[in-house]
């Protein structure tokens, strides 16, 4: 890799300039390649109802029907309880999934806890998908939520042990950062099961399990 970037090192007299040049080049290069390679007309036509003609204001959608995430702009004005639960799960996943990703190098000393963390992510994704697609009934949703809690507790327990056993202070600090994120999410999770249960309050699941989550 060093050979590859020799010219960047030689052109600048310090490494910051070389890094900026390299990152700037790759950033532009990638954008150009994607701009050239992507069929934007086809992508747009797949979204717009008129197939990509003049853009018109979208029709108001049924709340929660798109499974859209509440993002940086906060909840949409007509966000339903389901939207809010979905956004909550989405937010946790956005924090936890990068930690559990095989592409992420965990701090030294972290081992088995990542397995539990990966299980938490899978379960959250499953719960999120099941709720927004209305594929879960109340007991199944509650069971998934309990499994999420259980696996997160397990991940925290294992990671705490790994932190204590870590040899270097730097690794202990890094594991501490991860643990802080996990504990914060675990705390926010306390009212998850009641919130999920309330989603089903209006459905009579004993006579007809469909729709599983009130629309």
């Amino acid at each position: 890799m060093k050979r590859l970037f020799q010219r960047h090192e030689n052109q600048g007299h310090n490494s910051d300039a070389a890094l900026d040049e390299l990152l700037g080049t790759v950033n532009e290069q990638l954008l150009t390649r994607l701009t050239t390679g992507l069929d934007l007309d086809a992508g747009l036509a797949a979204i717009l109802p008129d197939g990509g003609g003049d853009w018109t204001q979208p029709q108001p959608s049924e709340p929660g029907s798109s499974g859209a995430s509440v993002a940086t702009d906060g909840p949409a004005p007509r966000a339903t309880a389901l939207d809010l639960v979905a956004a909550l799960l989405d937010g946790w996943l956005a924090t936890l999934a990068p930690l559990a990703s095989p592409a992420t190098r965990p701090p030294d000393g972290v081992g088995a806890s990542v397995m539990s963390l990966a299980a938490v992510c899978r379960l959250i994704a499953q719960l999120h998908h099941g709720l927004i697609m209305r594929m879960l009934d109340r007991p199944s949703a509650d069971r998934l939520a309990r499994l999420v809690e259980h696996n997160l507790d397990e991940a925290i327990r294992l990671m705490s042990g790994e932190q204590r056993a870590a040899r270097k202070q730097r690794a202990r600090d890094q594991i501490g950062d991860w643990l802080a994120q996990l504990r914060e999410i675990r705390q926010d999770m306390d009212d998850l099961r009641p919130r999920i249960a309330r989603l089903f309050d209006d459905s009579d699941q004993t006579t007809d399990p469909r729709p599983r989550v009130p629309r």
């Binding site: 970037f5 490494s15 070389a18 950033n27 990638l30 994607l34 979204i47 979208p58 859209a68 592409a103």
Partner: protein
């Protein structure tokens, strides 16, 4: 900005942003497209489309990445048409930088991805819900780590 104009202007950069989070090109495209599909439904309520799209697209990527039924081994290969537009060295550089970003700790990778897209530390802090000082600190650490990972550390880094 209307939706179609935003799509044309932002889609490639959005795909690139998701790639900086570790996604393969096709995964990044799917996540970006899914974010625009959601955006279309709530377009009038979005105040900052660039930040909104990035947050939603990255979340869509993470969801698809951990969903067990996602067939990760059947993703299409990069098309030869696209590969042919860039030189081998450029492609190698690109892969090396993406690999370098993937090797960074999570927060540093996230901060770098937003930084690459021209967001200021205060905006990044808001999007990632962290302190602006933590953004600056993570940027510094990410740069230092990237220099090492890419083998371009100067004298001061040794």
């Amino acid at each position: 900005m209307d939706f179609a104009a935003c799509y044309r202007a932002e889609m490639p950069a959005l795909v690139r942003h998701v790639m900086y989070h570790g996604a393969a090109e096709q995964e990044a495209y799917d996540a970006a497209q899914s974010a625009f599909e959601h955006a279309y439904q709530v377009w009038e309520t979005i105040r900052n489309p660039r930040a909104w799209l990035r947050t939603v697209a990255v979340r869509a990527y993470y969801r698809s990445a951990v969903r067990p039924e996602t067939p990760t081994d059947s993703l299409p290969e990069q098309t030869s048409e696209v590969s042919a537009t860039v030189g081998a060295e450029d492609l190698e550089q690109e892969r090396a930088v993406l690999a370098g970003l993937a090797a960074l700790p999570v927060k540093q990778r996230q901060v770098m991805a937003w930084h690459f897209d021209g967001f200021a530390p205060a905006e990044i802090a808001q999007a990632l819900d962290i302190d602006p000082a933590a953004v600056r600190q993570n940027l510094l650490k990410a740069r230092r780590n990237l220099k090492q990972l890419l083998g371009i550390a100067g004298r001061e880094g040794r």
